[in-house]
Symmetry: C2
Subunit: 356 residues, 2 copies
Amino acid sequence: MNIYDLDTPALLVDVDILERNLRKMAAITAETGTRVRPHSKVYKCIEIVRKQLELGAMGVTCSKLSEAEVLADHGIDNLLVANEVVGQPKIQRLIDLVRRVDVMVGVDHPLAVDALNAAATDASVRLPVLVDMDIGMKRNGIAPEDAAELVRKVVASRGLEFRGLMGYEGHLVSMPPGEEKTNAVNEALDRFSFVIDELKTDGIDVPIVSAGGTGDYQIAARHPAVTELQVGTYAVMDTLYGSFTPEFELATTILCTVTSRPCRERLILDVGRKAVNTALSTSTLKDRPTVEMKYTYAEHGAMTVDEDAPDLIPGVKVELVVPYACGTIHMYEQMHIVRDGEVVDIWPVVGRGKVQ
Amino acid sequence: MNIYDLDTPALLVDVDILERNLRKMAAITAETGTRVRPHSKVYKCIEIVRKQLELGAMGVTCSKLSEAEVLADHGIDNLLVANEVVGQPKIQRLIDLVRRVDVMVGVDHPLAVDALNAAATDASVRLPVLVDMDIGMKRNGIAPEDAAELVRKVVASRGLEFRGLMGYEGHLVSMPPGEEKTNAVNEALDRFSFVIDELKTDGIDVPIVSAGGTGDYQIAARHPAVTELQVGTYAVMDTLYGSFTPEFELATTILCTVTSRPCRERLILDVGRKAVNTALSTSTLKDRPTVEMKYTYAEHGAMTVDEDAPDLIPGVKVELVVPYACGTIHMYEQMHIVRDGEVVDIWPVVGRGKVQ
């Protein structure tokens, strides 16, 4: 089926571009020795995860426990929930999951250590954890100066297995490439090194340091403390990440229909906030940089047209480049896999709606 | 079940508040004689629609054809797709639907009139349409000066049944209430009157003029041209609309868990961009105006804390007021219906994902 026979809006992923992106990341990690645990929250798709594992990924990262459950249901092992899992009934679900697969979770607070430890001890399991550090993003994560003490608490908790550290320098990934970015990212990641050195004096080994993202993988892969990267967007890409990692190609578009052309300067697409997320970046039509997303309404997308474009009339189908993949793909039930303009497969977005 | 026994994030709707909001709108329309065709895209929920119909709503508005199909599947009739339906296979789906229920669609371009007319004529049905006018929002809709000509084209199309005009003064609804807003909204709605007068000289009657929203229903309900209101958000409400229609109460919250409390000034919730839309408004915790949404990440919500709040520690469940209901509810599979803190029902968000 040709893509233009699909009803719209429909999410398209070019499989040749996807595979080139995956191979490019695999090459970098093969060169540096740092492993990849790709962050599946961006695309929530088993078929992409399987391709990453075939290319050497050593496991999978996700953000929510329910995403990890879906991965486990599909036979994927070696999981990291790169987030805190707190409160009942989530801790019970985590214990059920750790009986099925190897799954680690982040912990960044003494109360959370106590709660996880109590539940694991009661259930006679050992929960693998990473201590989650704030390495400058000022989001979640324990302050670096308090991290070693939290690690010692984890090590002393017989229901828990200390596996290492995690953190995300998300405040730096959008810097333009260059020396300034390299220095800033390395300085953030050095916070892991200080904690590792401090723990060494206690005889505590830190097998895993999980950090980095598509926006700074080149730097994080070369940092001595980092053992694995949580890169996600590189696989499918979007205009946001394209602006600072142009070496990855845009694989993802939304097939839309022009529903209105009120005047020469403006056209309306059938894709609004419920089908595309423009919170972090804008977008243009594929191969038409002069037709730019001006505003998204709940159910309409308004494009400004900087040319005559007499072909863009109601009923015509066009491809919109995805501005922000992580905020967009989760709104679709499936991705249409495309090669040379033909739909060659349909992959479900199995993690759709898995926010718990 | 108490709400605090729910896993999170979970969408909560207080049914007593909902019903007060519905009755308040019904009272205004009873007073002014203007009918309500509530816009179900905001909540996509049959149970709310049924309550609105019981209180005198004369039909239902939606934005996408797939939403209308879901409404029809649940036995709801008298539908308006307040949007353009263009392109195959959507026109074929529309023809299938018009054989089942009374459904009108917007049309704003001569090419769209031709396409709808050709399909309807081929199928031996008559498609009811409203001519969609741009009354100042500069989104979709035909320019007022061209509207009468498009109406004449519709009237001359034997596959189409001209039912009236529609438009949305969405650029004005967020103005603070007062004389300036009243004048601006009336001026926008007067554009309908001019077209109605022009058509009168041709002997063309305009039975329906559909316009207005929660943000200006008081003005639109009193405008002589308007016959029905497309109000949606008033039922469930959010902080965005609460700022300019305080007479409706906030019925909708998201039950969240505090996943991290990195420092006194900041806490992290398990609700990010995939579970709440903060594009148009921010939010606070319910009954805690000093704990404010500072930033949403893909899977985390960061709140700033302007008090000690020693109770807000990892594992604690809290209610986040919904900042923008139309952009948020569609991300949930169901709404938990609450009375006095107890879950009394679960209503599916049947229109979830219906973007085609």
